[in-house]
């Protein structure tokens, strides 16, 4: 059995059309001529940009989890909830699976995304090869569709609107932090397209031929 990478042809993952590839541009977004799927995207930057975004996102993640999310005042008494409190409410009412679903998509996946990128990119930047970096990056690409920060944010808006008719609701620090977290994760995702990551790895293994 022989397996080898081909560099002169790129096959579309969505429609299987083969494209001849004359040169790989450093900063490009290439689409399939038949089905318009994005074949690859690169940004030609160093990992520094992505590392900075990941650190920012991590700080915002901490803020979003430490402070209260929303406060509600009815008849003079105030009740606050936190990010994890939202998942907990499902658990307390006997819907453990829904609690796991909310915690997973709104809290765990975003955190794993940030930590995985830091764990993979920082050694890469320092020129070290670490164990399991390919496995981790593959896991990250599989997890990305399950990070639902932007959906949670809009869900919070819907909940606020629903309650505002009957009670006085005020967004708290965590909601603002979460909104910024959502933006930084979106920026982080667009700063680390898969193809770019593999180029960083290739450049690290063989600096002479780095594209």
């Amino acid at each position: 059995m022989t397996i080898s990478r081909v560099s002169s042809v790129i096959v579309c993952h969505a429609c299987d059309l083969a494209h001849r590839l004359d040169s790989l541009a450093g900063n490009a977004r290439v689409r399939c001529v038949r089905c318009r799927a994005e074949l690859y995207r690169t940004n030609d930057r160093s990992p520094d940009n992505a590392i900075a975004l990941a650190v920012t996102a991590l700080a915002l993640f901490v803020l979003a989890n430490v402070y209260p999310l929303v406060a509600m005042t009815v008849n003079g008494s105030t009740r606050m909830t936190t990010l994890i409190g939202a998942a907990e409410a499902f658990y307390e009412q006997g819907y453990g699976i829904l609690a796991v679903l909310v915690a997973f998509t709104a809290i765990i996946v975003p955190l794993v995304q940030i930590l995985t990128l830091l764990y993979v990119l920082v050694p890469l930047r320092l020129g070290r090869v670490i164990r399991g970096q390919n496995l981790l990056f593959r896991m990250l690409t599989a997890l990305r569709p399950w990070g639902l920060t932007e959906v949670f944010m809009l869900g919070a808006v819907v909940a606020l609107v629903k309650l505002s008719a009957q009670a006085e609701v005020t967004p708290q620090v965590s909601l603002v932090a979460y909104g910024l977290l959502m933006i930084s994760i979106a920026a982080l995702t667009s700063a680390t397209p898969s193809e770019q990551y593999w180029r960083w790895v290739a450049g690290q293994r063989d600096p002479g031929t780095a594209p």
Binding site: T2, I3, A89, A165
Partner: protein
């Protein structure tokens, strides 16, 4: 009809994880030389996995819409709320943009996903995909908007955690919420397990 050079006709594979193009001769089960993910010509059992997930989701779509997702006491009103009645009460409240948003995310999008995936699967199953271009566009729309259906689940989690007095829950989660969340997750999994290349195989073979 134009004939296209495809990966399959040239004996080339594309890694579904890192999208490296690979020449693999011999055994079909092999690992990507770049990212070490498993390589395959087409995702194994894609059609049957997707079909099973779509059918399960379609069945659950009924209780998801008929059963109450929550019941409220005192503060909001004293009522059982289904997904649809939640939208209606938002509209009554005068929050039209939010009501429309929830209507699309919770009712239209899951239905669109089920119909679109069902149509795609049926067309492939009959072996005639007449317009793969439109169907692949439809599939991508479905894949892109699918996640937004989780909106109501998140909103409900916040309502349930906020509207309590001394740990006595005034917003009670009801079984409809479970069915609804299952529809969202199952349709997301269905879209992920579908190998889009199946839409185009008929065109190049024919």
């Amino acid at each position: 009809m134009t004939t296209y050079a495809t990966g399959r006709s040239l004996g080339l594979l594309v890694c579904t994880r890192c999208r490296a193009t690979v020449r693999a001769i011999g055994d079909k089960r092999s690992l990507c030389p770049r990212c070490e993910a498993e390589l395959f010509v087409r995702r194994p059992h894609s059609l049957s996995t997707t079909a099973a997930l779509v059918i399960t989701a379609a069945v659950l779509y009924i209780p998801a819409n008929l059963l109450p997702v929550m019941s409220t006491h005192e503060i909001l009103s004293d009522d059982d709320d289904t997904i649809l009645s939640g939208v209606i009460s938002l509209a009554h409240q005068g929050s039209w943009p939010i009501a429309l948003l929830v209507f699309f995310a919770s009712i239209v999008v899951p239905l669109l996903k089920l119909v679109a995936l069902g149509d795609i699967l049926f067309a492939i199953w009959r072996g005639r995909v007449r317009n793969p271009r439109q169907r692949s566009r439809l599939f991508r729309v479905v894949e892109f908007v699918g996640r937004w259906s989780m909106l109501d689940v998140f909103a409900l989690s916040l309502l349930a955690s906020l509207v309590q007095i001394q740990s006595l829950a005034l917003v009670q989660v009801r079984p409809g919420a479970f069915a609804f969340a299952a529809v969202v997750v199952l349709t997301m999994l269905a879209a992920q397990s579908f190998d889009e290349r199946l839409l185009w195989d008929a065109e190049t073979d024919g």
